[in-house]
């Protein structure tokens, strides 16, 4: 027998190395298509950065933005949003990676301790977040460095933001581990959705409460304004450090950065130390599946294939509360804002130069974007390894794709329609305007659902053990950007048609509707055709 000596750091390095190899292999060794995508993606990234960085430089050089409080206000808002977003997403990420990832069982029987396991997961999440953050925020930070001529601002921002978000992630992780240790076994898988819902609705409630208190409109900026000033809040340190850095005050910039760094190390160490001992019991609970007998009485009534797939998708969704809440949360938050006493909707007042239905329509379309992302984008991916059940049946690929479109389309259309119409009725929109905006919204959201389903079929992720991971993070970001651009195209088309024809008359409304139909139809056709071609070529 051989005796082994274990070094914690070496084990951690080994795990991270294996994770990096996994990413590399999935990029480089998973077929020619992936290799091409891996080569193309950085080029596209460089192109986007090349375009966005000069824009950021111009923005940072604008006098109004750089002056005192406005920069502090902007940076504070960004920090608060970052913390809130990280908190909400970390709950779901922690649950998926700690309890439902494929390698957990194996890792827990190896001689790595639970604290090391948690550290590994936390670091992996942090590194992924850092990569996404670099891609998204890179041009803004680079622009600031170029505009001020101080290159050390780049590492300063990296350290400050990293030190702010690492303890946020670790607190979410501790919360997840503690809750999973306490709840009954059969509910463990539902905890993800519940925790995310609590965090999401909690943040929305605080935001609305802050806006009601301050007497100004609703919005994250109001929330940030209300809580950014107190010096004891860490995001305030981060904002002050970045603002001082931008102004060239090195020492005042480094002091809060150092405090944040120290806080990150201490808090993360404490949370890992506290969460470690709770991990194993929670994991054992999460693996215990309660036997739930359902009252099933079959009528043996045959259904057309599309309805059979729709029924299957609906049953799968409603029996998975984690997924259901993940879908309903963004729609719920939109509803909370639209229907809150002071709100008048998310910035509905900013549409006062346009017809009364303009704001509710745009807001509801963005709510549908989240619904389409939650259902449409994962429509094909949610089949996972069970996809063979459909692909070995006599159903054609086209019929299959259209069947998978049904649930996202129905949910996105009905949810957004309910949001828009209820808001319109609350603000006294005339019936013809309600009908017109409803028709436009239905067309726009149908196109959005087709876009999501088509994109999801182009890049399906069928090899998962947790359905929430059936869509890759990059695809989700890509869809949100593309979906937002699509909604913008619909709205701009609509606006131009109304402006050109001189206002909301019968003819201009018809023209506006046709423009929207054209944008939606073209988008749907392109997306579904691409998805169909990909599915035809798919081998599993």
């Amino acid at each position: 027998m051989t005796s082994y000596e274990f070094s914690t750091l070496a084990q951690l390095a080994g795990l991270l190395r294996a994770g990096a190899r996994g990413y590399w292999n999935s990029c480089w060794r998973s077929g020619a298509g992936r290799r091409v995508a891996t080569m193309v993606a950085p080029l596209v990234g460089i192109l986007i950065w090349s375009g966005a960085t000069p824009f950021a430089v111009t923005m940072w050089r604008a006098d109004g933005l750089r002056r005192g409080d406005s920069l502090l206000g902007l940076v504070s808002t960004v920090m608060v949003v970052l913390v809130a977003f990280t908190l909400a997403t970390s709950v779901s990420f922690a649950l998926a990676s700690i309890y439902f990832a494929k390698d957990v069982e194996w890792l827990l029987v190896t001689p790595i301790g639970p604290r090391l396991f948690l550290s590994y997961r936390l670091l992996a999440q942090f590194l992924l977040g850092a990569a996404i953050g670099t891609v998204v925020a890179g041009p803004a930070v680079l622009g600031l460095a170029i505009a001020t001529g101080r290159w050390w601002i780049v590492p300063l921002v990296a350290v400050v933001v990293g030190s702010l978000l690492l303890p946020t992630m670790s607190m979410a992780l501790l919360g997840v581990v503690a809750v999973v240790r306490l709840v009954p076994a059969r509910l463990v898988k539902n905890v993800a959705g519940l925790l995310v819902a609590i965090v999401g609705f909690g943040l929305a409630a605080v935001d609305i409460a802050a806006s009601v208190g301050s007497g100004s409109g609703v919005g994250v900026s109001t929330f940030a304004h209300a809580i950014r000033s107190p010096l004891w809040l860490p995001w305030s340190w981060a904002a002050r450090s970045i603002v001082d850095g931008a102004d060239g005050r090195l020492v005042p910039a480094l002091l809060p950065a150092a405090a944040l760094g120290a806080m990150a190390i201490v808090l993360t160490s404490i949370t890992i130390a506290a969460a470690g001992p709770l991990l194993r019991d929670g994991w054992v609970r999460s693996q215990t599946t309660g036997r739930q007998r359902r009252r099933v009485r079959s009528s043996f009534l045959p259904l057309p294939v599309s309805l059979a797939v729709l029924r299957k998708d609906w049953r799968t969704l409603r029996r998975d509360p984690a997924q259901l809440i993940q879908l309903l949360l963004p729609i719920g938050i939109f509803a909370v804002y639209l229907l809150s006493p002071r709100a008048g909707g998310l910035g509905l007042g900013s549409f006062h130069d346009f017809p009364i239905w303009y704001g509710p329509l745009t807001t509801a379309a963005f709510a549908a974007l989240f619904a389409a992302s939650g259902l449409g984008l994962r429509a094909v991916g949610s089949e996972g390894r069970q996809f063979w059940c459909l692909t070995t049946s006599p159903v054609s690929t086209g019929a299959l794709l259209l069947s998978k479109l049904l649930l996202p389309a129905i949910v996105a259309v009905s949810a957004s329609l309910a949001l828009m119409v209820s808001t319109e009725l609350r603000v006294g929109t005339p019936a013809p305007a309600v009908l017109f905006s409803a028709a436009v919204l239905v067309v726009c959201v149908l196109g959005l659902s087709c876009l999501a389903t088509g994109l999801g079929a182009v890049w399906p992720r069928l090899d998962w053990s947790d359905p929430r991971r059936s869509v890759g993070v990059w695809l989700a970001i890509f869809f949100m950007v593309l979906g937002a651009a699509y909604i913008a195209a619909c709205v701009v088309g609509l606006t131009l048609a109304l402006l050109i024809t001189g206002g909301p008359t019968g003819l201009s409304s018809l023209l506006a509707f046709l423009v929207c139909l054209l944008v939606a139809g073209t988008t749907s056709w392109v997306a579904l055709r691409a998805g169909h071609r990909r599915l035809l070529a798919l081998e599993s």
Binding site: V305, Q386, T391, P394, S540
Partner: protein, 264 residues
């Protein structure tokens, strides 16, 4: 049972090859399986058995060659060919959030089984495979063996002409394995065709009319068990396992590898 072209073999592999990027998984396979035949494909891990079955049901496309199911090309006339097929994959992934009964209803809908037929067939299949009592449980609570049995039920709901099974006995207890064997034999007796891959050589020896031995992507031996034993020059005491070891050359390599690994 839905019928294909009467004169055609149930399953025909015509010069079928499959190449994955850097390796040849199946090399020029020519094989015909007659209607009513129970054919077994055996071979070591990674020999290409699963790839062959996946090509036969249309999950993978051959790099060259054609596969005909009762005369219908699985690639060109996929829908018509798949209508005649039933498939049970290895360690069958099923919809966890459906109950057993709902899973079978879905399969019946996908194959457009009539109401009368499914009313008769679904309870009969559940009873035959001892799943009646668990039909209202979510699939996520099923054991591996129960999943395997449910997948078999789903594959049989539409009474397919050709049934393809990848490692069907893995995960089954001895009673269920025997039930399966009896069921497959009775299916073949009623004119159905069964094509299975297995590691369980004794199952293949007892059950199969003909056996093909796959090794490194090639069909290295084909025939009845008796024919294979004769070809391999074994005496009366020889078994299919001896033939397998002999044909694949696995015994010497495996023994040497094991001794070497244990001593490392």
């Amino acid at each position: 049972m839905s019928m294909g072209t009467p004169a055609s073999p149930a399953l025909a592999f015509l010069a079928v090859a499959k190449r994955f990027e850097d390796r040849m998984a199946v090399e020029r396979l020519d094989l015909e399986v007659a209607k009513g035949e129970l054919f077994g494909l055996i071979g070591p891990n990674g020999a290409g058995k699963t790839t062959t079955i996946k090509m036969a049901v249309g999950l993978l496309r051959p790099s060259s060659g054609r596969i005909l199911v009762s005369g219908f090309d699985i690639q060109r006339e996929g829908s018509r060919a798949r209508r005649l097929l039933g498939y049970v994959p290895d360690n069958a992934p099923l919809y966890d959030k459906l109950t057993g009964l709902e899973m079978l209803e879905l399969a019946a809908d996908l194959y457009q089984v009539s109401r009368q037929r499914r009313r008769r067939r679904i309870p009969a299949l559940l009873e035959a495979l001892d799943l009646e009592a668990d039909a209202s449980q979510l699939v996520q609570s099923y054991s591996r063996g129960m999943r395997q049995k449910l997948a078999l039920c789903a594959a049989l709901v539409h009474d397919p002409e050709v049934l393809l099974l990848d490692e069907p006995t893995v995960g089954l207890d001895p009673v269920a394995a025997r039930q399966l064997r009896t069921m497959l034999q009775s299916l073949c007796a009623t004119g159905h065709t069964v094509f299975l891959s297995t590691h369980a050589l004794e199952v293949a020896a007892v059950l199969c009319d003909r056996v093909g031995i796959f090794n490194q992507g090639r069909l290295v031996a084909l025939g009845t068990v008796a024919e294979l034993e004769r070809t391999a020059g074994l005496d009366a005491a020889g078994s299919l396992e001896d033939v397998f070891m002999n044909v694949t050359g696995a015994e010497d390599q495996e023994t040497a590898r094991l001794i070497s690994a244990l001593g490392a």
